[in-house]
């Protein structure tokens, strides 16, 4: 059905119907011509037959006239009749000649005419004899009777030939009529049928033509529409189209391409030489090379270059092209050129900002490291001197003095904790750490052995499910475990020994940006400590952010910030869910 429809609308169908129709027309005209000429022939033949019959009858009448005149002459002897007789003879000869001319194609009729001519000659001899012997006949009746009898016999013979000739002509006429009748009987039907077929074909091809025309019209409309939207797209997207017929070296530039070049379409012919005129001198060679490649390559690489418009504005543009071969076999390059100046500028700006940001980040972390590292030195001295004072001068100091010394010791201890944490934070910031496939159970063991003292002091219970093997930065993950479990121990309720459960499972999560599911290891650390209000769920990860006063709980407000940094280094995520007086759940997602 589809094939039929397609065939019906195809140009091939139209051509076929047209050719068949024309052939039919020729056929019909041929037949008609043949028919008409045959009719003409019949008509001519009929006319001829009539003419022949007429001439024969005329001849016979003349012969009869001659006989009557001869008899009259014999009876009357009037000499005036001699002249008439001679005239009749002349008329008969003429008649015979013209009949002979008419029937020259017919052997039988010619034979008849030869015989008639012969008989007439005999007849003339008798007539001449009558003229000469008219006086003799007056005397001799017998002779006269003989002459008359002879004349009658000849007359009869002529009569017979004439009758035969007329009969033959009649017969011929009849035959022609019959043949004619036959042609005439089937020709009209045949012509009519052929005409009908032709008409059908013409109607069909007309319908096909109308359909093709309609589809052509709608295609044309679509083309107009897409042309218009293309033009709009070019305008909005700041790009221009071009094409080049490689075989004819004919170029086409779209209106917006001219706009990008900053020139009037009416004054610049679309060709490569003119385009080259607007390309930045430093980029000309490069563009030429790429265009030269058009000749022998089907895929053409993108190229970014600069153009200089007549008002000396430099624009960055990118061109891409593709070679196609049309149905007629000519090779075309179609391509687009997009103005990327804005992108370029933005990119430059972004790169600049990025560099600045990177620099300031580097400076900041270097500063952090140096500051915390160099602060250690004097602090260590202070602490050592404090221990010296405590050891050696304890007895010399007053009550107050001892109290002050104690305060100094606590403050120095706090400073030590801050500096240690800051150092750790700055180390977590360094990105050049090496990932190793590590058994997290081992890291957990190490972490717990570091926390051993606190665990024992608080009489904590730990419930840990087996952990996976992952590619991680081992010391960072160990630090992560220490910090989280350390927090659970530190923020335990005073009256309830801490219970910490650590679970691990594999989860799949939808990445909303890439729209793919990704697999993660989900580690959950759950405690039964003092917890916090859910509104602090994100705040706890901020640097130096503390939820409790220093007197209640010691801490620097760096621990969870370090955790966050570590998890981010591993492309994972960390979340806290706190419930006041019930505990905290820390959820960590690490990619597989």
């Amino acid at each position: 059905m589809i094939f039929k429809k397609r065939f019906y609308n195809s140009p091939l169908f139209l051509v076929i119907t047209f050719v068949v129709s024309v052939a039919m027309m020729f056929f019909i005209s041929g037949i008609t011509f043949k028919h008409i000429s045959s009719l003409n022939k019949t008509r001519e033949a009929v006319l001829h037959s009539y003419e022949v019959t007429l001439e024969i009858e005329k001849l016979f009448t003349s012969v009869k006239d001659l006989e009557i005149e001869r008899r009259n002459f014999l009876l009357t002897g009037d000499n005036n009749l001699v002249e008439k007789l001679n005239k009749s003879k002349l008329g008969i000869v003429k008649s015979i000649n013209s009949i002979n001319d008419l029937v020259v194609d017919n052997k039988i009729q010619t034979d008849h005419i030869v015989k008639i001519r012969h008989l007439c000659t005999s007849k003339f001899a008798i007539v001449n004899k009558a003229i000469i012997d008219v006086e003799k006949f007056k005397k001799d009746r017998e002779l006269l009777r003989n002459n008359l009898l002879q004349g009658k016999l000849i007359m009869d013979s002529i009569q017979i030939h004439v009758d035969q000739m007329i009969a033959l002509e009649d017969q011929l006429l009849k035959k022609r009529h019959e043949a004619d009748q036959e042609i005439q009987s089937y020709t009209p039907l045949f012509i009519y049928l052929t005409l009908l077929v032709t008409l059908t074909l013409i109607v069909l091809s007309f319908i096909g033509f109308i359909k093709s025309y309609q589809s052509l019209k709608s295609t044309h409309e679509q083309l107009l529409l897409s042309n218009e939207s293309n033009r709009l797209g070019e305008f909005i997207g700041n790009y221009g189209n071009w094409s080049c017929n490689l075989d004819k070296n004919e170029w086409y530039f779209s209106a917006n391409l001219y706009t990008i070049l900053g020139v009037d379409p009416n004054f610049v012919k679309p060709n490569f030489e003119n385009l080259l005129h607007y390309i930045h001198p430093d980029d000309k060679e490069r563009v030429k090379e790429v265009v030269a490649e058009y000749q022998n390559k089907t895929s053409i690489p993108d190229i970014t270059y600069r153009i200089v418009t007549p008002d000396r504005t430099v624009k960055h543009v990118r061109s891409a092209g593709k070679m196609i071969t049309t149905e007629t076999g000519s090779r075309l390059i179609v391509g687009s050129t997009i103005d990327v100046t804005q992108d370029h500028l933005k990119n430059d700006e972004l790169e600049q900002q990025n560099r600045e940001l990177e620099n300031s980040n580097r400076e900041l972390s270097a500063f952090n490291y140096v500051a915390s590292h160099d602060l250690q030195e004097p602090l260590r001295k202070i602490q050592t001197f404090i221990s010296r004072l405590e050891d050696k001068e304890k007895d010399e100091l007053s009550e107050n003095g001892l109290q002050y010394l104690d305060r100094i010791k606590v403050a120095a201890g706090r400073m030590r904790a801050l500096i240690d944490d800051l150092l750790q934070f700055s180390r977590a910031n360094k990105s050049e750490q090496v990932f190793e496939l590590t058994d997290l159970n081992v890291l957990m063991e190490n972490a717990l052995s570091e926390l051993n003292q606190a665990v024992e002091e608080k009489q904590a219970t730990l419930d840990i499910t087996p952990l996976p093997k992952l590619s991680v930065i081992p010391f960072q993950i160990q630090q992560l475990f220490i910090n989280i479990i350390g927090n659970s121990l530190k923020y335990a309720k005073t009256d309830t020994p801490p219970v910490i459960t650590i679970t691990s499972e594999i989860v799949k999560k939808l990445n909303p940006v890439k729209n793919t599911t990704e697999t993660f290891h989900r580690l959950v650390f759950k405690d039964n400590g003092i917890g916090f209000e859910p509104e602090f769920n994100t705040k706890v990860f901020e640097l130096f952010n503390r939820l409790h006063s220093r007197e209640e709980y010691s801490g620097t407000g760096i621990g969870l910030a370090i955790c966050k940094k570590i998890v981010e280094n591993h492309k994972g995520s960390i979340q806290a869910h706190g419930i006041l007086n019930e505990g905290v759940e820390i959820e960590i997602l690490l990619p597989v």
Binding site: L379, K381, T384, S387, R388
Partner: protein, 149 residues
């Protein structure tokens, strides 16, 4: 060690306070030790390179020093077979991974982070000096290189 009257110990550290803590600690330890201190690496190497110098059994080396730092001293000492008998303890404020790694590779025997408590310092120094170096060095690896307290 019993045959020897004194244990010779040397320290190169540019910090006066640290040198003071160091000598104080040894004098309080009441061990039979002879302690030499040097203000920087340059001074240390000048001394060591004397033909008749009495070589210390244990050399404590600070890393961050003017003129010649601890790392350079370590390299020079390890390049000279005359000093093969010396045990070298790195004695530094820093406990950065890079420093520990580098000094281990260069052939130091132990890495000590300067303690911030005088009693802790005394304990560390006594531990280090009485360490069986032969035994320690034969089983030396990156994990026991850093002396933990």
């Amino acid at each position: 060690m019993l045959q020897k009257e004194y244990i010779h110990i040397a320290l190169a550290d540019d910090d006066e306070d640290d040198r003071l803590f160091f000598t104080d600690a040894f004098s309080e330890l009441k061990m039979k030790t002879k302690v030499d201190t040097f203000k920087d690496g340059h001074e240390l190497m000048l001394y060591l390179n004397q033909e008749d110098a009495i070589l210390p059994q244990v050399l404590f080396l600070d890393l961050n020093m003017p003129r010649k730092n601890g790392m350079e001293c370590l390299q020079e000492i390890k390049a000279n077979p005359r000093f093969d008998s010396m045990a070298i303890a790195i004695y530094s404020t820093s406990s950065s991974e890079e420093h520990i790694e580098e000094t281990f590779v260069l052939g130091a025997n132990i890495y000590i982070k300067k303690p911030s408590d005088f009693n802790a310092l005394k304990k560390v120094l006594s531990d280090v000096v009485t360490l069986n170096w032969q035994y320690h060095t034969s089983g030396l690896n990156k994990d026991n290189f850093l002396l933990r307290m």
